[in-house]
Amino acid sequence: MTNQTRRKFLFSALGGATLASGASMASVIPEMPAFKKRAINLNSKEFTLADSQAAVTAIPPFANVVLNRMGFGPRGNDIADFNALGGNDDARLQAYVDQQLDWSSIADTELNTRLSQAGYTTLNKSLTQLWTDYRRDPTNSFGYYEPVEEIERLAFLRAVYSKRQLLEFLADFWHNHFNIYGRDTYAAPTWTSWDRDVIRPPVGGVSNRPSGFENGHLMGNFREMLELSAKHPAMIYYLDNYVNSKASPNENYAREIIELHTLGAINYAGPDPQPGDINTITTSDYPDGINDKYADADVYEAMRFLTGWNVKDGGNPYGKDEENTGEWYFVGSDWHDEGQKQLLGRHWPAFTGVSEVYDMLDLLAFHPGTARHIALKLCTRFLSDTPPQSLVDKVSQTFFDARHAPDQLEQTYRTLLLSDEFKDTSTWGAKLKRPFETVVSAMRACDADFTVRPDDSESRYLMYYMERTGQRPFYWRAPDGYPDKRSHWEGGASLVNTWRTLDWLVDENVGRNDPDLMPVTDIMEAANLAAYTPNSIAEFWLKYLLKWEPTGGWSGTTLHGILSAFMSTPWDSDTNGSFWGPDFPIPIEDIVENSWPNYWNERVRGLVKLIFATPEFMQR
């Protein structure tokens, strides 16, 4: 690698392209302008500007709102299919939610066809097989990462092509809730198992869960899911519990299982709680009372509970079991702190053994604070950065009431998705899509033909571009998961790199033999417009990509005017451009061929990229 490649050059792709095409450099007089004043008044209100959504042309129809709120946006005939589900919005939503929650009844033909052609190799390997093939004995130096590299690509394939949109939306949620950095030492080789055996429900009607944990997944029961997550080698390693012993206690996992996975920081009383900060509450599980909030003392106690909670990884260098299978096991009294313990106001006698860990998981999973924490996160994900408390309370109540039910989580989602707050379209646009959502929903809206797969260069490029957006899947290093507030994503780096990703997707393969990843030209040709003009093309694409139109159509709206102007502004008026009006007829052959001097095809692709960048598309 030369020095050149790692240096940062601040010049744009545009500038580079211009120079390469032959602009004269030698005769240019250094005419560096004084930097322009920024358009923004530095002492005005933008410094105290609260997070707020950008204005949109109008509220879309109910079907569009629903399909954007509980999935990755409409694709193909989705809107028509939704509207055929009943006689009114309530009936349609009820039917759609029923359908999506009964996910295994939804045929996923297109996804399965693409999957069968994509060359994924790790999907059917058991945890122990994955451990053997990729942790113990990788066939090449990249072998460790094969599982995580398959699942990160599969995340795109599923989100774009699966008709089980709610399930995919929830998989994204729960991966972030129990966030693990996918490149971590034990995570990378076992990631297929983490995704399949902890997060997702088993497919094909046959449970791959251990007895008693058949419902430990995102559609099932949180307590079971929590234990499966706790027993997975990826988690045990990522949060350092594999070295947590009575001789050498380590609090990392103990802290995060309370702070992030269950009670949440909203129920933290601080490092030095004063009298009155923590109160006793009772529940039917704990009629004698438990503390409503946790303190650091509880974290240290949880750490003691978890001493010896471990993984069979060959024993080295810590003198554990010699077996090397990647499976969970409890080391026993050599490692486990057998002293008496307290947690959240409850007491355990000495020498309780591993059963006290299960008691701890019960206490955490069945605590009303956990219900509030998870309800708040779910409502934030589905609906708004600041969801109505009325909704959080309802969802929390269902989560808590159903805490022993096998379908606890399904019931919880049902409460949320059928609530008045969810149906309220007036709050449309409250969420800024995260980069993963933006890219996936763009691929869906534009009929992308892109079988994201383990081993081709286009899929590698996609991951490269996503990394720049700040949201490559399973790439968030800290255990709190990708942030879910717009303030985090409203930065230039994330926004521009998200648009760059779409820029690449729309342009990739254009003019080559391979099919375009985004068939913009085909769609334009098939539109068969009576006349292709800047106006009619802008009108067509707004409706095609957003999949709705305001009363009276897009024509005449401000947004349409801006896009039509983009289509009709000469790009280099003082040399070889032409002047057109909004009704200038453009021969379809010129759009297909992208010919000199007007490069209409490139112009149309630019229009598509711009629509992806509108508040109408970026927000939901």
């Binding site: 211009t18 994330s494 711009l610």
Partner: protein, 424 residues
């Protein structure tokens, strides 16, 4: 008004064609005299850094207690991985040679045992980072970051600033929350939403679409400004910087400071400090590598600025979300703690000293019997820099509820220099 395409081509072409010295010459000439402002670089060590192994008790009782609590991971006074001697009582980690040189040159000050007031902090990474960056200990409900409030209240902004605030992270950090003019820029090549023929028209259309007053509108406007700026300027990170992403970030900042884009504040992140496990025995290992990357990058940054006569215009402040436990854990790592040393670096810094009060690491001296106690409020350090270096007297706005006392100040940047930017 947008630059015409022709001008933009001229600018870029000339930058590519000329030597860096010439670029600087004409850039300076294009700006009003005396408009160069001060720049504050806020470097955040994510993960909670083990400050006790960075600025280390070297002699006496503190040393004895330190060695008792850190049997394996202690940084030795002499021999392999020996610490640098700062002032007899304290040493600097042996891998921090670059920072030691800055200390010796009087450009790096240490303030030990800094943090939030007792009882207001948190051992959660996330809550603690939030509170520090919001600048409101104990309060997570604040809606703006402290750097954003500095930007809002400072009289020291360069009037024609092109890039007043910048983050080199992939997203804007909490310290800049509310400052919708802040640029975030994690990479520079190909930073454009339309790399094709219609790039400028694309930006024009985006600017028309996002002409409202929401936070997203401002974020997009700022993105467009960033892209336009990138078309006007050219920064190359010199070879004197090590090949690390932190050094690249600081090199990019130095380049912008040299270009005089009016940079007032910059936020930089450097992660990997959550050393629960195997952080390195006897001053070596993982932690030592982290320290070396940090130290070498800071040294390259300050040396670069100094060689352009600019190190008096920049102060770099280093902090983390907490220090770590005084005692090593059983995995030869350290768990989440409380106080930590901060560094303040720059040509105007009254360096070569260890400021603050070291509370000791004997059991009875520790917070909750486990952590280094906070003896200096972090806001005292930051206010010192804001008032005396950045020329912003409005501490009450930046840190609501905190009272800054000039007489109690450490004078880290040489005492009152209010309005030294030439503002009335």
């Amino acid at each position: 008004m947008k630059l015409s395409r022709r001008k933009f081509i001229g600018g870029t072409a000339s930058l590519l064609a000329t030597a860096s010295g010439m670029q600087l010459g004409f850039v300076h000439a294009a700006l009003p005299k005396g408009s160069r402002g001060k720049t504050l670089v806020y470097l955040f060590l994510r993960g909670g850094y083990d400050g006790l192994n960075m600025v280390i008790p070297r002699t006496g009782t503190h040393r004895t207690e330190y060695e008792n609590k850190r049997e394996h991971i202690q940084v030795p006074v002499s021999g392999d991985n020996a610490m640098h001697n700062l002032n007899g009582a304290f040493g600097l980690h042996g891998s921090a040679s670059g920072m030691k040189a800055l200390y010796d040159a009087g450009k790096l000050a240490v303030v030990h045992a800094v943090g939030m007031p007792e009882g207001l902090g948190s051992r959660s990474h996330f809550d603690s980072q939030e509170m520090y960056e919001l600048g409101t200990p104990g309060d997570l409900s604040t809606t703006t970051g402290w750097l954003a409030r500095h930007m809002m209240s400072t009289p020291g902004l360069v009037e024609d600033a092109a890039i007043p605030s910048l983050s080199t992270n992939s997203s804007s950090p909490t310290s800049l929350l509310g400052d919708k003019t802040a640029m975030t820029l994690d990479s520079v090549s190909g930073f454009h939403p339309n790399g094709g023929r219609y790039g400028n028209e694309h930006l024009d259309a985006l600017a028309k679409i996002y002409n409202g007053n929401s936070s997203l509108d401002y974020a997009v406007k700022s993105s467009i400004d960033t892209i336009n700026m990138l078309q006007q300027i050219d920064v190359e990170v010199p070879d004197t910087y090590p090949d690390t992403s932190l050094a690249d970030d600081l090199g990019l900042l130095a380049g912008m400071i040299k270009m005089n884009v009016g940079l007032q504040v910059a936020a930089v992140d450097f992660g990997g400090w959550d050393t629960h496990n195997g952080q390195g025995d006897n001053g070596g290992g993982y932690y030592a590598t982290r320290v070396e990357i940090l130290s070498d990058a800071i040294a390259a940054f300050m040396d670069d600025l100094a060689s352009h006569g600019l190190d008096n215009d920049v102060v770099l402040v280093v902090q983390s979300e907490f220090g770590r436990r005084a005692r090593e854990n059983g995995n030869r790592g350290t768990d989440h703690g409380t106080a930590f040393p901060m560094f303040v670096v720059g040509g105007k810094v009254q360096g070569g000293k260890v400021y603050g009060t070291f509370p000791g690491v004997a059991d009875d001296d520790l917070y909750l019997n486990t952590d280094l106690k906070v003896t200096t409020d972090f806001r005292k350090v930051l206010s010192d820099v804001l008032v005396n270096f950045m020329g912003n007297p409005n501490v009450g706005t930046v840190f609501p509820g905190y009272t800054y006392s000039e007489s109690d100040s450490f004078g880290l940047t040489g005492g009152a220099e209010l309005f030294s930017n030439g503002f009335e």
